[in-house]
């Protein structure tokens, strides 16, 4: 094609030339190669956020579509010899557009369903920060909810993410994408905080150190040693059959202990306990030594930064309120006490209600003979409920490579969770997917493939081969 305007003509020629086309292809190749390196160093999520869904990728794709289109328009009016290449170019454009549709309107999340349990929420990759507040300790009201993308927009001390609540501010001052976690107990100033004890149980065979922390004041918590149980809180002996010790906070220095034997309802031994004291429990020579006692304590996450993700790391943010710092782990709840009010803060993956539950009736792992290598996973599920107005529960078996289609969603067997000790499966993990771009992509692929095969058979006037 030629145009009157000299400059436009030059621009048109450039757009149709390989001077534009080849640099675009080269930069796409380099960009996505970089994406695979990011994935190798970090994980698929990082690669997606940093590279594949970045503005650079968008620009490259738009330019590619532009170039492919202009090249076709330039050849107009088309003759038969043009059709193979037009097929290929249109196919590619359609596939890319299908990809945009999927990215924009599709759902790609995961759902974990415990065996004999059910779930109707899909965990999505987006994250939300939600704050609830209470003034009477019972009723909570939602004060704030917003989608946050700390991975891309990392909050810092200099540039915190601020949440304003009436006359209070909560700030997010740090984000750790790959955090290794440990529980830590520290003293608290809040009057509502519970107590915490660290103690050692020992005899000639056993020596064990444990910590018990109350979630809040006067809320009993316990540690189970099997035949013996240690409680932190008021004495509340319901049944016989177990040896029990109750440690009841008395004042800021000491606790009252009450020891029960498994076959007696009345208390066997009682007294006061300070840090460093030892009590003989009378069960198989077992002694209890109080190592630490914090009358008002909170349990907090202790976060260690990891450079790269491992199956044990998770994302965490640091929150500052009234000079106090707290860690909040992804999909966990943080409780902060003010003078007269308390806040619940969650940082979580968005949960999308499917509109129907998936109930897991059974889960089977079959293994190759005589080995632990899994041969197949199989979930026996029911989707939906009989609601009496047309809705019907449907039973199905979902296995690897055999997904279930229901209400527009496709439910795939992704993996399973197992008990760390027994290795028995405890929950099935599904990948839940809704892809409105699927058929666009398939259609584009078909057109492109036809074009490529056609191109291969096409005899050229200009002999490129020889």
């Amino acid at each position: 094609m030629r145009f009157e305007n000299k400059w436009f003509n030059k621009f048109w020629k450039f757009s149709t030339s390989f001077q534009l086309g080849i640099p675009i292809l080269v930069s796409i190749a380099i960009l996505i190669a970089y994406g695979t390196i990011v994935e190798s160093r970090y994980d698929a999520y990082a690669a997606k956020r940093i590279v594949y869904e970045s503005w650079m990728m968008l620009v490259a794709m738009v330019l590619l579509i532009y170039n492919l289109t202009i090249v076709m328009v330039d050849r107009m009016p088309w003759q038969l010899k043009h059709y193979p290449f037009i097929f290929v170019h249109i196919g590619i454009i359609v596939i890319i557009l299908g990809g945009f549709v999927t990215q924009k309107f599709g759902v790609d999340g995961s759902m974990s369903v415990p065996i004999a349990g059910k779930n109707n929420f899909v965990a999505m990759p987006q994250t939300d920060l939600v704050v609830y507040a209470t003034f009477d300790g019972d009723r909570y009201s939602k004060m704030f909810e917003q989608e946050v993308d700390f991975f891309k927009k990392k909050p810092s001390l200099e540039r915190p993410f601020r949440v304003s609540l009436n006359n209070n501010t909560i700030e997010v001052i740090d984000y750790v994408p790959y955090a290794r976690l440990a529980k830590k107990v520290k003293p608290s100033l809040s009057s509502q905080a519970g107590s915490s004890v660290r103690f050692q149980l020992m005899n000639s065979n056993v020596k064990q150190v444990e910590t018990i922390t109350q979630v809040r004041k006067n809320k009993t918590n316990q540690f189970n040693f099997g035949p013996a149980q240690v409680f932190l809180g008021e004495v509340d002996r319901k049944t016989l059959g177990k040896n029990e010790i109750y440690l009841t906070p008395k004042n800021d220095e000491s606790l009252t202990y009450s020891i029960f034997r498994k076959d007696q309802a009345k208390v066997f031994k009682t007294g006061t306990l300070k840090i460093g004291d030892v009590v003989d429990t009378g069960w198989m020579g077992m002694e209890l030594r109080l190592l630490d006692y914090i009358p008002r304590a909170t349990e907090e996450w202790d976060v260690t930064r990891s450079e790269r993700p491992t199956p044990l790391t998770t994302a965490a943010i640091q929150i500052r309120r009234a000079g106090d710092l707290h860690w909040l782990v992804l999909n966990d709840i943080l409780k902060i006490f003010g003078t007269s009010e308390a806040y619940l803060i969650t940082y979580q993956n968005r949960r999308l209600d499917l509109g129907f539950p998936i109930a897991l009736k059974g889960f089977k792992v079959s293994r190759y003979e005589g080995s632990m290598k899994a041969m197949a996973y199989e979930s026996e599920v029911t989707v939906g409920v009989d609601d009496g107005v047309g809705g019907q529960a449907k039973s199905a078996v979902i296995s690897m490579n055999e997904p279930l289609k229901h209400a527009g969603y496709t439910i795939y067997q992704a993996s399973f969770q197992e008990d760390e000790v027994t290795k028995e499966p405890t929950a099935s993990v599904f990948s839940i997917n809704y892809d409105p771009g699927r058929w666009i992509k398939y259609f584009g692929s078909l057109i492109m493939s036809i074009g490529i095969v056609w191109l291969f058979y096409q005899k050229r006037k200009r002999r490129t081969a020889v």
Binding site: A33, T310, P311, Y368, K373, N401, I432, S449, V453
Partner: protein
């Protein structure tokens, strides 16, 4: 092909087959069915794989000049007389840092169990490995080396105790009885085998006539098998393929295939150097025999594994080299350039040798499939389509290399050959693209079916796309005349680095993504050197042809 050539062909195939099928006395033990890592295999395979874990080779050489001892005898004596092995250098340890930490003399390749495992240092290293595993981080090469050491220790100990060799189906569970768990009524049969092994090996050591001892041993093995079959006829039926597998092990078809490819290469080179007009018949015969044996070996694996063998690096190398030969034969038939067949045979030869000499990196053992790969039509189709496209690119690479050689030898003088090679490279790349693009789409269909998305930027699929983009750039650049002959030949070599990255690099270097069932380790330094050398060769050829231009 004329009749004489055909009869030569048939004769050779017969020769190879009969070579494998012939059985020596004392060989029966090799056929004994064993349950190991999820499938039933002959003791022969089990022993070879086990020896490879510990010793790194399929047969044991007591010292430089000694005759190698076959794997099955080695593993049997580990079990029957472990104490005789404790002071032999049997365990292959090559990782420098591990040797350093164990305070061992470097420069040796093999160490005794006494040296390795009896010290406190070994315990410390194993603790270090356990801690690392606890953290669930990726294992670095150092920890992979520790992992291997742990495997060596474990395998040797379990073999010695008789717990690893499972020889009798259990009626109530899928796990077979190991030698140490055999029921009372079966024990005497195995004891008989042990006794006969001892007698046989004794006779061998003393240089006596082993024929009789061998036959007696064979009888003992057959009696054990009969007893096992009576014990659980149904499950023992699963062992019927062990005989074929031993034949496959003995023939070693891919080794024969490359021997014939080598003969073909030599013949073709001779024809080229002497500028002969005839002789192509012989070259075709050698390539065809090699190809036939190659196909035969492939058939064996399909029969034994009950699936198309394209599930790991080794199998795809075998498959792609098969494809490269096939494409070169087709192109040669069409163009009759001779040089195309030479390129194909060279590529087939080199890749089969690589597959044969690096079992630690390219694992030739037949393994059961991962759950996600089972019973899937699309899986097989997409892997085979994509790897066959790699075969075409491999051919383009080989032809490109030949082209560079001719440029160095003088572009004027060899203008005709260079032109032919360029055609070959161009056509090969076209074939490759015509397979790769649909292959990627088939992969998308499989991913959609199995993982729930058509395209997810998984490194394996992304790199396949990068390969496609690379070759499309080459084809387009040729189309508009940016690439002349030299550029085309050089592209055949340079662009192949992308294939190496997609094929090998993603699994062995990046090690990320959903295709994790194909991941492995090792060989990175060799592959990098290979790629670098070729780049340097291209640069050298470029400079050389440039100086030729200015001189003329």
């Amino acid at each position: 092909m004329n009749l004489r050539v055909k009869s030569i062909l048939i004769f050779f195939c017969f020769l190879v087959l009969s070579f494998g099928a012939n059985a020596k006395s004392g060989d029966q033990i090799r056929y004994l069915p064993v349950q190991d890592s999820g499938r039933i295999k002959p003791f022969d395979t089990f022993a070879k794989e086990t020896l490879e874990i510990i010793y790194g080779k399929k047969s044991y050489k007591p010292d430089q000049n000694a005759k190698p001892i076959e794997a099955h005898w080695v593993v049997l004596t580990w079990m029957l007389a472990p104490e005789s092995w404790v002071n032999r250098p049997l365990f292959e340890v090559t990782y420098f840092e591990v040797l350093e930490k164990l305070d061992l003399e470097k420069g040796k390749k093999y160490y005794t169990g006494e040296e390795l495992f009896k010290t406190e240092k070994f315990g410390n290293l194993m603790q270090e490995l356990a801690n690392k595993k606890e953290s669930k981080e990726k294992l670095t090469p150092y920890f992979q080396a520790l992992q291997r050491l742990e495997n060596q220790f474990y395998v040797f100990r379990e073999i010695a105790s008789g717990r690893l060799l499972a020889v009798l189906p259990r009626p109530d569970a899928t796990q077979w009885f190991s030698v140490s768990e055999l029921p009372i009524e079966i024990q005497p049969y195995f004891l008989e085998i042990s006794k006969n092994v001892a007698t046989f090996l004794g006779a061998t050591a003393e240089g006596k006539n082993i024929e009789e001892a061998g036959q007696s041993l064979d009888q003992a093995v057959i009696k054990f098998q009969d007893a096992a079959r009576r014990f659980n006829p149904e499950k023992y039926e699963a062992a019927r393929k062990t005989k074929t597998e031993v034949i496959y092990n003995k023939i070693h078809p891919f080794r024969w295939a490359y021997v014939f490819y080598l003969l073909a290469v030599l013949t073709l080179l001779y024809i080229w150097i002497r500028k002969m007009s005839g002789g192509m018949g012989l070259a075709w015969t050698f390539v065809s025999i090699g190809f036939l044996i190659h196909t035969l070996g492939f058939g064996f694996r399909v029969y034994l594994a009950e699936r198309p063998p394209v599930s790991n690096m080794y199998e795809t190398v075998i498959w792609a080299s098969w494809g490269a030969i096939l494409f070169s034969m087709i192109l040669e038939k069409v163009y009759k350039f001779r040089i195309l067949l030479l390129g194909g045979s060279l590529v087939g030869l080199v890749s089969l040798i690589v597959a044969d000499v690096a079992p630690a990196v390219l694992d030739p053992s037949i393994q059961p499939l991962e759950a996600v790969l089972r019973s899937n039509y699309w899986l097989i189709v997409h892997v085979m389509t994509i790897t066959i496209s790699y075969a075409a690119f491999m051919l383009a690479f080989g032809l490109g290399d030949l082209g560079m050689v001719y440029y160095v030898m003088g572009r004027e003088k060899h203008d005709d050959t260079i032109q032919k090679l360029t055609t070959g490279v161009y056509r090969s790349i076209q074939i490759g693209v015509a397979f790769l693009a649909p292959g990627i789409i088939l992969g998308g269909i499989w991913a959609d079916y199995s993982w729930g998305r058509f395209w997810g930027w998984d490194p394996k699929e992304t790199w396949a796309l990068i390969v496609l983009l690379g070759y499309i750039i080459v084809l387009h650049a040729r189309l508009v005349g940016w690439l002349k002959n030299f550029g085309m030949l050089a592209s055949g070599i340079i662009t192949f680095s992308l294939v190496i990255m997609a094929w090998y690099g993603v699994n062995f270097v990046l090690g990320a993504g959903l295709h994790s069932y194909g991941f492995g380790a090792g060989g990175v330094e060799y592959v990098s050197i290979f790629v670098l050398l070729h780049m340097m060769f291209v640069i050298y050829a470029y400079l050389s042809q440039k100086s030729q231009k200015t001189n003329s």
